[in-house]
Subunit: 445 residues, 2 copies
């Protein structure tokens, strides 16, 4: 039975590919989970006379946003330990709390649900996740209907999830096997960082990633301390070490990458490896400034991530786009660096590239998955509109995102989540926060 | 007849003074346009048994935000010319458009109305404005019920508003005289910048400001080009010149101040002059980074401004707080720089200080004006709440601001403006944008 077509007739449609195109008077045509065409409204109506028509008269329609790096379940630690640098934040606050709670039944499920509720509301239709208990995360994603790429975590110390390299790999890959036929849930190798994963483990990750054809993403060159410590210990820069170990290739993402010299940028460009830029996290932890304009000039793919809500403190990729665009200009000393259209591309197609998913998502093109969002620009703060992408990137907020579709399914409908019980998700999160706060109060007492 | 008391019983109340205080189980007590007290709910109820009770069970109550620098009517040029550096943006785009339209009947009124609609919706209860035709701006403010400090503009070239120094001063002060008994509309001398206002004009401004007891605010050290040009021409830094002319004192605000050496910071600190920090504008125009942490360490008052929507592109002081806090950490290389509580203080009490209004606004203290806002934190993106000010600064958006009061009057009620017709305001703005676009199309043709 052929699937019925739908015509999404929006005030503006920005397909992201080709670059900078803004269509008016057009309809996005979908059938089932796929995009069929992008046509002038009269043509679409005459070609698909029986199609359902969805009117979006005040709206900008764009591809769903791709959050290329987060730690979804950590959303339960949003605001738990702010205004500390990375090392203190991790070792004195986050890791102890995670040690106490990450393994508790339902923590990852409830945290991931909260993250998904927030991400759908802010236009994210696909995210790359790095967290323990990917089985719970996968179930939460599947239940909500969001697209995700979950991490097969590797870290050289025991956590509630696993105690050894073998166990990390075995458990992570077992989750992958269990979900391998799910159209929305994919996997990525996620060795934590150069300073927490040794050469042997990285070599095993490389071999497995090649065999299984999975991408790899890793926190790399996040802080000056990381560089200084590595150089003091071995004389070798972490990126050079990863290159020596054969990790750098087009399916590798260096997350953060705030500390890059010319040779690092050349190594990324030559290998085809990409960067996932997390501007708000880098600012909040005072980790440094990713040289976005220089990376783009060198031809490096730069995707966008929120990082975890513990260090951001939200998962709002729309807001992250604005920060990325503004900060890139400031850092480059060039007001034309990372234009609004370039920032939108970073948050969509470049994200798809980081996840090795450009054949499926990232732009509104025939044959791709029907992942897209509608943004109501008829608000005081986005009036007037000279270019809808400028209004989106420089002035809109997540609440203007009224509707979100993943694989053709409407997950946010006129501001209401259709697959998650928002109030229940928030109530569960508050209950976890009370336990987490109580533990801290005891530890202090 | 005594005015009836009202008790605002909010989930959290943050009075800003004292620093860092977060009250639970408290009520803000108002009578007419004034704050009467801040008391535990049982005490408030027993002391004012007949008072009306306003329940805000999911809300954080804070002082209204003070936008210490904007150009309200320029909101009609939001997104008109993005991604250009300051000089090109001003001289090739903004000034020509303003030359053509600023003097058109109703332009400033309609632009200011749009700005006010946006500012009220994003929690701003008071703003300092620099624009021509302050008569129209004053009328728009009065009609809307927002508090404002309007600029007596001085600039060394003719504009649609005035042709000479005498005319700028005469017209500006005539508007002030006409509004001098209005409790909400005040005035500030606003010589544009060191590079557009000569010594004679600045001296006249100084004398008049002293005589009339008005503050002065001016774009100062906004870009490296401004400094280089001044140094090449005279060998004197603009701030040194202002000091020599006697301008620097506690009622002077240097807006932007991205280019400051140690002597500049010492001159500001010693004179008591303040800075108005506009982080998003500075980033977007690639003007440079204001050294916020160093200024605060030196004891300089740093207020917060959005600048005009033409270079931001919104008037959202909540979002500006987040950018200010994140950017200060990144620039200082210190994750503890400009904490969430410090950012909130910058957007409230420090703004009041920049406007010389600390006796009236900026904190929730008995005797001050009843200017305050309520923020609903019960949303996915601000759950859980470990500290409501962290949730506010690092994760909330303007749409979570449900209610806004100025001088005790509710101007935003559960998300709806009470004094402005939002749809009409937007329709008028769209009509202006069409004219502005048509003129540009003609100019290009």
């Amino acid at each position: 039975m052929p699937t019925a077509e739908k015509l999404y007739e929006a005030r503006w449609i920005v397909p992201v590919e080709p670059v900078g195109e803004v269509l008016e008077g057009h309809a996005l045509v979908t059938a089932g989970d796929r995009i069929v065409a992008l046509l002038p409204v009269p043509v679409a109506r005459s070609r698909y006379p029986d199609a359902e028509r969805i009117a979006l008269p005040r709206h900008l329609l764009i591809p769903g946003l791709v959050n290329a790096h987060t730690h979804a379940a950590m959303t339960l630690l949003r605001g738990y330990a702010d205004d500390y640098p990375l090392e203190i934040w991790l070792r004195e606050h986050v890791w102890p709390a995670e040690g106490a709670f990450a393994g508790a039944p339902g923590f990852v499920r409830d945290g991931t649900r909260l993250a998904i509720a927030e991400m759908l509301r802010s236009g994210t239709t696909c995210f790359a996740d790095q967290y323990f208990f990917a089985d719970q995360a996968a179930a939460a994603c599947s239940e909500a209907g969001i697209r995700a790429q979950l991490g097969v975590i590797v870290i050289d110390f025991p956590t509630p999830w696993a105690r050894s390299l073998d166990e990390y790999l075995e458990k992570g890959l077992a989750v992958r096997d269990a979900w391998k036929h799910d159209p929305l849930v994919g996997f990525v190798f996620a060795p934590h960082s150069p300073y927490t994963v040794g050469d042997d483990a990285l070599t095993r990750v490389r071999v497995l990633a090649n065999e299984l054809d999975l991408p790899v993403q890793m926190h790399v060159h996040e802080t000056a301390d990381e560089l200084a410590t590595a150089l003091a210990a071995s004389g070798e820069r972490p990126l050079a070490r990863l290159a020596r170990l054969g990790l750098l290739n087009p399916s590798f993402s260096a997350v953060h990458a705030t500390q890059l010299d010319d040779a690092d940028i050349a190594a990324l460009a030559d290998s085809g490896a990409g960067v996932v830029h997390c501007p708000q996290s880098n600012l909040k932890l005072a980790s440094g400034f990713c040289p976005v304009a220089r990376l783009l000039a060198a031809g490096v793919n730069v995707a966008l991530g929120t990082d975890g809500a513990g260090s951001n403190n939200d998962l709002d990729l729309l807001d992250e786009m604005r920060t990325a665009s503004l900060l890139a200009k400031g850092v480059a000393g060039d007001a034309s660096a990372l234009s609004a259209h370039a920032a939108l591309r970073m948050a969509t197609l470049a994200g798809a590239q980081a996840l090795c998913l450009t054949s499926e998502i990232g732009s509104l093109e025939a044959g791709k998955q029907a992942d897209f969002i509608a943004v109501d620009l008829d608000r005081a703060a986005t009036t007037p509109v000279y270019d809808p992408v400028h209004a989106l990137v420089y002035a809109a907020t997540r609440e203007q995102i009224t509707d979100v579709w993943v694989a053709g399914r409407r997950l946010l409908a006129d501001g209401a989540l259709t697959t998650l019980d928002d109030a229940e998700v928030r109530a569960n999160a508050r209950a976890w926060a009370q336990k987490i706060s109580a533990r801290r109060a005891e530890a202090v007492a």
